[in-house]
Assembly symmetry: C2
Homo-oligomer: 372 residues x 2
């Protein structure tokens, strides 16, 4: 297998390292802007060179971002090359274009490292789907948020202090928005739901709320009442079709989610026969993520593409009712749904998920968490 | 695929139910002693009939026990038929005979349901091994013991009461020895280590201690000190080769194992690149277990056999040092290694695992738990 590796950052470098000693996977090109020298590898900025080289059968995309990643992946598939990517934003955003293209061109495509880093989540989900109706997917999919929330809970830290700690350890970016605003988790639950249910979720129908506005006083109130706050994603079959959303959620001590430490992930599916199952591990990091890219390359060698027939685009309907903790806002609607006071916040009676997220758009500074 | 199903108990009946609507898996025979009538299926006690029928390509063994299960499986492989089994005792006991036979006859063999019931553990471990050095495997592999220990911990129950509760709910057998004496877990860690490390562990070199002698007072002492007792299996690479054992173990609140509820399992591997990863789910039950048998049949249809080249039989050396809680014995050796008192028991200084298990053989009534 002759591979062109796009991007030589955290993941790309890891893939290079992990395949160095393999005789079955040969990194022939690295496409990157950095000035690196790698023995036996052509390092280039000219992507056309890869498309023109018929000996390159596989492209590994590890650049991140939507463009030019998607343009390069699209061109590779159109040129008849197999593709492996760790790019959740790209895979989730272009899912309904990507799958027909892969099928039409009869190439192989895999993106296991896009959700859960080193955890074999999407790979297992593809296996599950072969002979099982998946009822729900979701869980803790972002290590940065879990690290911040875990340290706020255990050490009583303020959000800003916990964020700075995460940044100093390399668990959070200088601009943490993608993680703390839930965008990363949003891409991951869309992609996971698509694979689990064989659809392409309309992204605008999947509401997301992150952890940016949480304060130490909120966490203290939750702890006092026996709850731990986690950023939880949900995708599930309902009577009306599908429901999917991302939001801070208060977990009881009996729930495994409450005990996930540091920057770890816990991703769960429920199958009709298999019951509830969860996968736990490090959802990011150079070698865990690169490991799953190499796993995907091994699957390509075995002829195993991504198993995810897609019946089309559908909108999520989030009319399920939950109670919510809300702090930092007060208006007629909130008062009309308020059931009790918790510290400086309130707790609502049962409210539809779509309804509170719509309300939240006009109250961007308040903090909200579902109670389950 | 024409299948002969051996056994029509909990798992066999589940496999029948889950394959009823599939066009690619046809249950042609059921071999059992019960008097059942199944439309379109030949129910027989005559195993020779299956061996003689060349249209039967696959045998599913769901009888349990060593004999005649192993004799039937061996005869099936020798007749050129593929085999799927959920039988951990058989797979672990005859591993070094089974693997060469499968390879010699060029048939496909899988046994995912043998460890973890519905959890895709052995299947995932086979995937991991393709491109990863597995450093360790283990965890909570027996739902019966976890149920008993969990209820003793949460409700302060005595062992006998918790066992009876488990029996009344069908989580424990009338004769619970296989579960509570750790034999089930012992078979599972041997099989998991064999797959993870590509060896066949000498079973006599893997010491096992169960939970039969634990008392409410032990659990109260552990709780007071912040520990939760679980039956934990361990298999790992060491400087000297391999180490493997099964023993009650005290887990701290920061460890995920401490929070595994009811009859759930948590099975963990550590990979050189992938880091620590765990799989969580129901380790038993009709449909979860049957689900993994059907998964294995799907893998057979795809031509994927069990990936576990084996370099030969090796003895585990358990010279790693741990501290142990011991209650119910007193002799010169124990006094010589005692470091402190805990309630009515003592805690040793660092002692080799093999050493304390050898001592334990002469003290069958005492309770022992490793501290980690």
């Amino acid at each position: 297998m002759n591979v062109a590796l796009l991007g030589f950052g955290v993941v790309g470098r890891g893939v290079y390292d992990l395949t160095l000693d393999r005789s079955d996977i040969n990194i022939k090109y690295v496409v990157c802007l950095e000035d690196v020298t790698l023995p036996g590898v052509t390092v280039t900025r000219d992507y056309q060179q890869i498309l023109n080289d018929e000996t390159v059968d596989t492209v590994v995309e590890a650049m991140g971002g939507l463009h030019p990643a998607w343009d390069f992946v699209k061109a590779a598939i159109e040129a008849g090359k197999n593709v492996v990517t760790s790019n959740k934003a790209m895979a989730a955003t272009f899912y309904d274009e990507l799958l027909p293209l892969v099928q039409g061109k009869k190439v192989l495509f895999r993106c296991t490292a896009a959700v859960g880093g080193g955890i074999g989540w999407l790979s297992e989900l593809g296996r599950v789907r072969r002979c099982e109706t998946v009822l729900s997917v979701g869980g803790i999919m972002n290590g940065t948020c879990n690290y911040i929330l875990d340290n706020m809970t255990r050490q009583g830290l303020d959000y800003d202090v916990a964020l700075k700690q995460a940044q100093s350890l390399g668990y959070a970016e200088a601009n943490p928005s993608t993680d703390v605003d839930g965008i990363d988790t949003w891409h991951k639950i869309i992609l996971s739901s698509n694979v689990a249910f064989g659809v392409s979720l309309d992204k605008q129908s999947v509401p997301v709320c992150g952890i940016r506005n949480i304060q130490a006083a909120d966490v203290a109130e939750f702890t006092k009442r026996g709850y731990t706050c986690k950023l939880i994603s949900t995708g599930k079959r309902t009577e009306n079709g599908f429901s999917a959303y991302v939001q801070p959620t208060l977990c009881k001590a009996e729930e495994l989610e409450a005990h996930i430490p540091m920057n770890f992930n816990l991703i769960t599916f429920e199958g009709a026969s298999a019951g509830r199952q969860s996968l736990y591990g490090q959802g990011a990091g150079r070698y865990p993520t690169a490991y799953n890219v190499v796993q995907d390359l091994c699957d390509l060698l075995a002829g195993n593409g991504f198993y995810a027939p897609c019946t089309g685009t559908v909108a999520a309907k989030n009319d399920g009712l939950l109670r919510f903790y809300v702090r930092g806002a007060s208006d007629a609607w909130l008062q009309s749904v308020t059931a009790e006071s918790w510290g400086s916040g309130v707790v609502t009676g049962p409210v539809a998920v779509d309804e509170i997220h719509a309300w939240l758009k006009n109250h961007p500074d308040c903090f909200m968490a579902a109670i389950r």
